[in-house]
Amino acid sequence: MIAAIDVGRLFELVWASMLAGVAVAITFSVVIIGVARAEECRRNRRGGSATAYAALSAVAGVLFLGGVAFAISVIVTK
């Protein structure tokens, strides 16, 4: 039974999946935090902070979309 299990590949799957799953959660949460905080800052007339949060949100959004693009490439090329 052990011969049928590639332990190295299994271990790679475990750490890579954990990294990918947590990265997706963090990236998208940063998008939400950025948008929500930017809204609050605008309401409180803190333009500089609003811009900074919006920029943070945009960067995280680009990273998230990059992940989506990579996922599509995995689907297409498998």
């Binding site: 799957l13 890579a16 498998k78």
Partner: protein
């Protein structure tokens, strides 16, 4: 003439399996989105159906094989494939009836294993292949997805704990639409190819295509894409209800954590050449997203029933596949056996659905 009839029956049965595959697996992509109201049910199934259809055209690396590496290729005849498909369809319908998510791919493998076992004996089954491609992924997928989703929801709750609920809810609902789309696209690409492979295999066996250097006929691609999309659009609502609201009552953040973690696990596994069942993955992820918030939030009795269905998938589909092969073979090696089995299966399905409709009508009348 007899071979032509068998070919038509195998193609029709493969498309029927494709339909039940879409029908059964709709929940994987949309159940969490529907339960958190990220999308309305009709919009969700329509989106999923369209992306399943599109996904079927994206990658056409169709292999004219079934249960490759698990069953000796020499044992795969059209009757074995037919019996395997009936085994898989029967198990898909049975688990749908009880609202239990289970792997359509494992059901198909089980059906073919059972039929090949009866036709060629135990030597036709590769034990290492069963362990490597069914047992190990069947254990790894739910446990890994459970852990990743649990980590993801803990990180999410920690990050957004000081925000107003409105933007958080809207944000994660939007994220769920993206992850549901990814799941649907991946499902169409992956699962429609299995049907294309089966039909191509039957066409090669019939002499309509060369064994080497074949191009998959356009009608095979279009019909496989249409069958899985139609099945998805019909929606297996019993399983959607189980996955979306009966295992845990989830909020949009949990829905996003489950779907995001599920997508991350499935696509990482695909990238590493270690294909996992989407059903096992997303079910494990839903449980993980619930258990990390509160262990008692998960209905563990239901989770146990789902796990039991997973354990039974291979042997049950194999038993049905074996019985169907035996019955088909009683009538000789021609078309008569598959014709009689097909008619019997269609009659049984019609009877079951007629009873179900009558029961629903009685309930509706009783409720006024």
């Amino acid at each position: 003439m007899g071979e032509d009839v068998v070919l038509v029956i195998v193609v029709a049965t493969a498309l029927a399996f494709d339909f039940t595959n879409g029908f059964h697996d709709t929940a994987n992509a949309i159940a969490t989105s529907v339960s958190t109201r990220a999308m309305s049910p009709r919009t969700a199934v329509a989106m999923s159906a369209v992306l399943n259809f599109v996904g079927a055209f994206i990658s056409l690396k169709v292999a004219a094989t079934v249960a490759s590496g698990i069953v000796d290729a020499g044992a795969i005849t059209t009757t074995v494939v037919f019996a395997g498909l009936i085994g898989a369809i029967a198990w898909n319908l049975a688990t749908w009836w009880f609202g239990l998510p289970s792997s359509s791919s494992h059901a198909l493998i089980g059906g073919v294993v059972g039929a090949a076992f009866v036709s060629d004996g135990p030597g036709a089954i590769f034990g290492d292949g069963v362990i490597e491609k069914v047992l190990v992924p069947g254990i790894v997928a739910p446990l890994l997805a459970f852990t990743v989703a649990a980590l993801a929801i803990l990180v999410i709750y920690r990050m957004v704990r000081n925000l107003r609920p409105g933007p958080v809810t809207r944000g994660y609902r939007l994220g769920q639409i993206v992850s549901a789309s990814m799941f649907s696209l991946a499902h169409g690409t992956n699962d429609a190819q299995k049907t294309m492979g089966i039909i191509t295999l039957a066409l090669i066996a019939h002499g309509d295509l060369p064994a080497d250097g074949f191009d998959v006929p356009v009608w095979v691609i279009v019909s496989s894409a249409a069958a899985i999309a139609l099945g998805t659009y019909m929606g297996g609502w019993r399983i959607i209800r189980t996955m979306g609201s009966r295992i845990i009552k989830m909020d949009p953040a949990q829905g996003f954590a489950a779907q995001g973690a599920g997508a991350a696990v499935v696509l990482t596994a695909t990238h590493l050449g270690f294909p996992l069942s989407t059903t096992h993955t997303i079910s494990g992820a839903v449980m993980g997203a619930g258990a990390a918030k509160r262990l008692s939030a998960v209905r563990w009795g239901l989770a146990g029933n789902i796990a039991l269905a997973w354990v039974l998938t291979l042997p049950a589909a194999a038993a049905i596949g074996g019985v169907v092969f035996t019955v088909s073979s009683v009538f000789g090696g021609g078309a008569l056996g598959p014709v009689i089995v097909s008619v019997a299966v269609l009659a049984a399905i019609a009877w079951i659905f007629a009873r179900r409709l009558a029961s629903d009508r009685r309930l509706a009348v009783a409720e006024g």
